[in-house]
Every structure is written in structure tokens, then in C-alpha cells.
């Protein structure tokens, strides 16, 4: 998956899980848990939404790598 598609998939998934987040205003270094205030259930749903949309199932051991928006986009680019 190229970076543009990965970014689109991440934006769509965050939009579904946290519709109040205005992604135009958010830095890609933002941390999903701390800065976007996703709790563990929100995060699980984010991972699930991305899996459904892109077929990339992020295993739990890789969660630290996808803690930020940028990390998540990078992960999808590498694995998608």
C-alpha cells in the first residue's frame, strides 16, 4: 500500500472511532491514546476498522509501533 492510501485508511478509521477529532488540525506525531484520548476499547475498534478496510491485522505485539498517527500510517505502508 502506498503512503497516500495508508493515510486515507487511517483517517477514515479515526473518523469512525473518534468522529470529534478534526484531523486537519492534528499533527501526525499525535499519540492515539494520550493525545486523541482513545481508550483501549477505542483503540481495539480502530485496529479492527483498519483490518476490515485494508486486510492488515495488527497483532498486539506491534501495538507500540502504531502508537502515533504517523506510526500507524508507516505500519500500513510497510505491511499493506
Amino acid at each position: 500500500m502506498n503512503e497516500q492510501d495508508a493515510r486515507a485508511a487511517v483517517h477514515a478509521a479515526i473518523g469512525a472511532v473518534a468522529p470529534d477529532v478534526d484531523l486537519d488540525d492534528v499533527d501526525e506525531d499525535s499519540r492515539l491514546r494520550q493525545d486523541l484520548e482513545l481508550d483501549s476499547l477505542d483503540f481495539l475498534r480502530l485496529v479492527e476498522t483498519i483490518d476490515t478496510a485494508t486486510g492488515v491485522d495488527i497483532p498486539e505485539r506491534d501495538y507500540p509501533a502504531v502508537a502515533t498517527i504517523k506510526g500507524l500510517i508507516g505500519y500500513l505502508t510497510a505491511h499493506g
Binding site: 470529534d20 481495539l44 485496529v47 479492527e48 483490518d51
Partner: protein
């Protein structure tokens, strides 16, 4: 208007999920009510046919106000029975001996040796809530005809003061499920005419959108009539698009939620003598077990630490019943069931604490599924009445968002609040050796009128014990 929580004084009806003439069972969802805190689905407390809706969409009424008239079925039991909302267990109408057994397949001939009834007529009678055993048949061999059923309905909906009406108007009203007593008659001596019934029907149509079912509550009303635009119009697990809401309305909602929380917490702190305890949970085994389970699962089936903590909190409440129940005028009433309230932070601000029913009996996977469902619906503003009304013990899991520990304020009339802090790796000394383990701080805020530190401490210790055998949770 049922009470949807200890702090609720009134509610706004935002949607009817039934219309007059509909047959409802106990527990069927009938209406959507907006409290200061959230939007909730309200179920029927009894079985029967909806004869009349008493509260219009957008009206705010005090708790205890009848919302609808539900006529019992099989019917002809005299005056329509008003829904008695505050009572959890509906009083079965006295003296009603149903002669037609609960027969969902209306084509099945009833075993009653009453007059012959053709299946379509029986179906009509069932739909309108008329007991065919109680009417005189005027057909061949005393058979009951459509007209007999309609007359019975007209007689019933007419009530004591019989409404003058034309036969055609009666027939139409019966077919449309409109109570004649609710129609303003414009005929001779105030008699209800066909035109009056049609007008009434049109009025109802205007107020009650045709809704295929509670799942698909798609509002069709024009904007001014739709007081709650944040009602989810998609599947309930998807949070409402908050961004699409007028900012002023979102602000007002958050403000009213904040007021409701403020009032309840003030009452709690003024009336409940809180005491507070904390302990550190050793989660090494639990987290390792969870990670090994999750490694083999697709994301949809994965567990989160919260699920384990909630299950342990529910199980421990069985062993220390002093933390589980209600305190009211009569003193402490322990609860046999553990309905675990889960404090859910709403993304737009504020929180609600709906219950996972019988959490102590649910297998971990089921509890996890219900937790996800509950949080999703809480955020979307679609909770069930019972979920808001009856938690017996509440857990706040703020640690999920990063704090080390949280000391909650008890939700009256409950008697305890459990708090879980962040699950994190910590240095851990054991047997003279220092290692690193997952751990979290559990706290208990409890009511001194009911328990003291010794029992409270036992409760927290029991949670820790249970978490050492996660495979048995």
C-alpha cells in the same frame, strides 16, 4: 416516564417506536427518552395493544407520568390499564384469565370451546387485543364476525362514556387502531365521523414516523421537530457524528450532563460517608495469559485488560456482598445479582455509568463483547432503560486513559465504587529479588454506613486473588 436513574426527575420523549394498534410484549422497546445524561430506549412494562400515546414527541414530562395506554390482551378487561412505569415488576392485571393461550401463530385454532371464529377474524381480534371468548357472535352458529370484533373494540375504546360514532367511523378507527375517545367528533351531538377519524389518523401519522423497527430508527421528521440530531441514524454501535451537530446544542447537552453529574455527586458526598482504600494488583499472570490468548485471535475477538479487571471485580462482589447493593430509607439492601456499572467517558464530555447485567456469571469473552457493545452504545447515546437504572456496583477504569489511580465518588443509592488505574510495568520485589511486572492500582470508595475498612480491604484483596488465575475468570 420510568426513572432511568436515581438522579432523574424528568425526561423528554424524542421518539415513539410503536404506534396505536401495535401489539407489544413485555420488554419490547416502545420509546426513546432523552434524560439530562443520555438518550435511552424504554421498554414496555406489560403486554398488550397500544391503545393511545399520551405524550407527544418533544414533550418533557416528570418521572411517573403515563406515556401510553396499553390495553391488555386478551382484552375486554374493562378500563384500559395505564402503564405503571416506576414498578419494575408489572402487576399482572387482576382477574384476567387469558382464555386464548399465548398464540403467536394466529392461524392455530384456539383450544377454547367458545363460538367458532374464522382464522382471519381471530387474527384481527388478536391484533386489536380483543378476547374472542368474551363477545357474542352474530354470525352463523353464533360465529364471531369481523363486525363483532370491531364493535367490541369500539365499545372498549369508547370507555365508560360511550362515544357516539357512525359504524363506518368505528370500523375505520378499529382498523387504524385509533381510540374513538381520543377523536374530537364534529358530527351531530359531537358524534365521531369518518372524516374525524381520518383527521385523527393524519395527525398521528404526522407525529409518529413510520418506523420499521427499533433497530432502524431513522428519523423522517423535519428539522425543527427533531430535537436530538445526535440520535444515531446508522447502526447503534457507530458513535453519532458529533461534528455534524450544531455547536450550541452540543454545548447545551454537555452543560446539562454536567449539571446532572454535579447534582448527583453533591448528593453523594453530602449523604454518603465515604472511606477509601487502595491496593496494587499483581497482573503479571493475567497480562501474560491475555497476551497469549490474543496472539491467536483476530482483532475482533481480542481481550483488553479492562475485561479481566471487570470480571474480577464482579466475582469478588459475590464474596463481599457489603459492596454490592443499594442503601435507601430502609437501610442497606444487598443485591444477589451483580449488575456492574461501567463508567464510560463520553468523547464530547461528561460520563455515564450503564450496567453489564449479571457480570459475575458471564464468561470473559461474553463480558468483553458486552463491554464493547455497551461503550459503543453509551457513546452513541443509545442505552436501554434497565442499563441506566440498576447497576448494583460501579467500576471506573480511568486508568485506561493514563492515571495511576482513581478514587471514585459513589453513585447513590449504590454503596461502593471501584477504581482501576493504568496497567503498567513496575519494579516488583519478591523473595529478595527485584523484577519487572505488569501491575495496576485498584481503589475502593465505600459507604461507611454499610461496611468498614476490613471488609473493603478483603474485597480488594479478593480481586487480586482472582486475577492470579485468569484462566478461571
Amino acid at each position: 416516564m420510568p426513572s432511568l436513574g436515581a438522579d432523574m426527575e424528568h425526561g423528554k420523549l424524542v421518539e415513539w417506536l410503536v404506534k396505536p394498534g401495535d401489539y407489544v410484549r413485555r420488554g419490547d422497546l416502545v420509546a426513546v427518552v432523552d434524560t439530562d445524561k443520555t438518550v435511552m430506549d424504554v421498554e414496555s412494562f406489560q403486554e398488550g395493544v397500544v391503545a393511545d400515546l399520551l405524550v407527544g414527541i418533544g414533550e418533557t414530562v416528570p418521572v411517573g407520568t403515563p406515556l401510553a395506554v396499553i390495553t391488555q390482551t386478551p382484552a375486554e378487561v374493562g378500563a384500559p390499564v395505564r402503564e405503571a412505569p416506576p414498578a419494575r415488576a408489572p402487576s399482572k392485571a387482576a382477574g384476567v384469565t387469558p382464555r386464548v393461550p399465548e398464540a403467536p401463530g394466529p392461524e392455530v385454532p384456539g383450544p377454547a370451546a367458545g363460538p367458532p371464529v374464522a382464522p382471519p377474524v381471530r387474527h384481527l381480534a388478536h391484533r386489536l387485543g380483543v378476547d374472542t371468548g368474551s363477545i357474542q357472535g352474530t354470525g352463523r352458529d353464533g360465529a364471531i364476525t369481523r363486525a363483532d370484533v370491531e364493535h367490541a373494540v369500539a365499545a372498549r375504546t369508547g370507555g365508560a362514556g360511550r362515544v357516539r360514532s357512525s359504524p363506518r367511523a368505528r370500523r375505520l378507527a378499529a382498523e387504524l387502531g385509533i381510540g374513538l375517545s381520543t377523536v374530537t367528533g364534529t358530527g351531530p351531538d359531537g358524534a365521531v365521523t369518518v372524516a374525524d377519524v381520518q383527521r385523527a389518523a393524519a395527525g398521528l401519522e404526522g407525529a409518529v414516523p413510520e418506523i420499521p423497527g427499533p433497530e432502524l430508527a431513522v428519523p423522517e421528521l423535519p428539522a425543527p421537530e427533531r430535537p436530538v440530531p445526535e440520535l444515531p441514524v446508522t447502526e447503534p454501535t457507530v458513535p453519532a457524528p458529533v461534528t455534524g451537530k450544531p455547536p450550541s446544542e452540543a454545548r447545551e447537552r454537555v452543560a446539562s450532563l454536567r449539571r446532572a453529574i454535579g447534582a448527583l455527586m453533591t448528593r453523594s458526598k453530602q449523604t454518603i460517608p465515604h472511606y477509601y482504600l487502595s491496593t496494587t494488583l499483581d497482573l503479571r499472570t493475567a497480562v501474560e495469559w491475555m497476551q497469549s490468548v490474543n496472539a491467536h485471535r483476530p482483532v475482533a475477538g481480542r481481550l483488553v485488560p479492562s475485561a479481566l479487571l471487570l470480571k474480577a471485580a464482579a466475582l469478588a462482589a459475590r464474596d463481599v456482598p457489603e459492596v454490592n447493593g443499594f442503601y435507601d430509607d430502609g437501610g442497606f439492601r444487598p443485591s444477589a445479582a451483580v449488575h456492574l456499572g461501567v463508567a464510560v467517558a463520553l468523547r464530547q464530555g461528561g460520563l455515564v455509568a450503564p450496567a453489564i447485567h449479571d457480570a459475575d456469571t458471564l464468561p470473559l469473552d461474553v463480558l468483553m463483547e458486552q463491554l464493547r457493545d455497551l461503550v459503543g452504545r453509551a457513546r452513541a447515546g443509545r442505552l436501554l432503560r434497565a442499563e441506566m437504572a440498576d447497576p448494583t456496583l460501579t467500576v471506573t477504569n480511568l486508568g485506561d486513559l493514563g492515571v495511576d489511580s482513581v478514587y471514585g465518588v459513589i453513585y447513590p443509592p449504590q454503596v461502593a465504587m471501584v477504581g482501576f488505574g493504568r496497567v503498567m510495568e513496575q519494579p516488583w520485589a519478591q523473595n529478595g529479588l527485584l523484577g519487572v511486572r505488569h501491575a495496576a492500582i485498584a481503589t475502593l470508595s465505600a459507604d461507611h454506613r454499610v461496611s468498614d475498612g476490613l471488609r473493603g480491604g478483603r474485597y480488594l484483596a479478593r480481586i487480586n486473588e482472582l486475577l492470579q488465575e485468569p484462566e478461571h475468570l
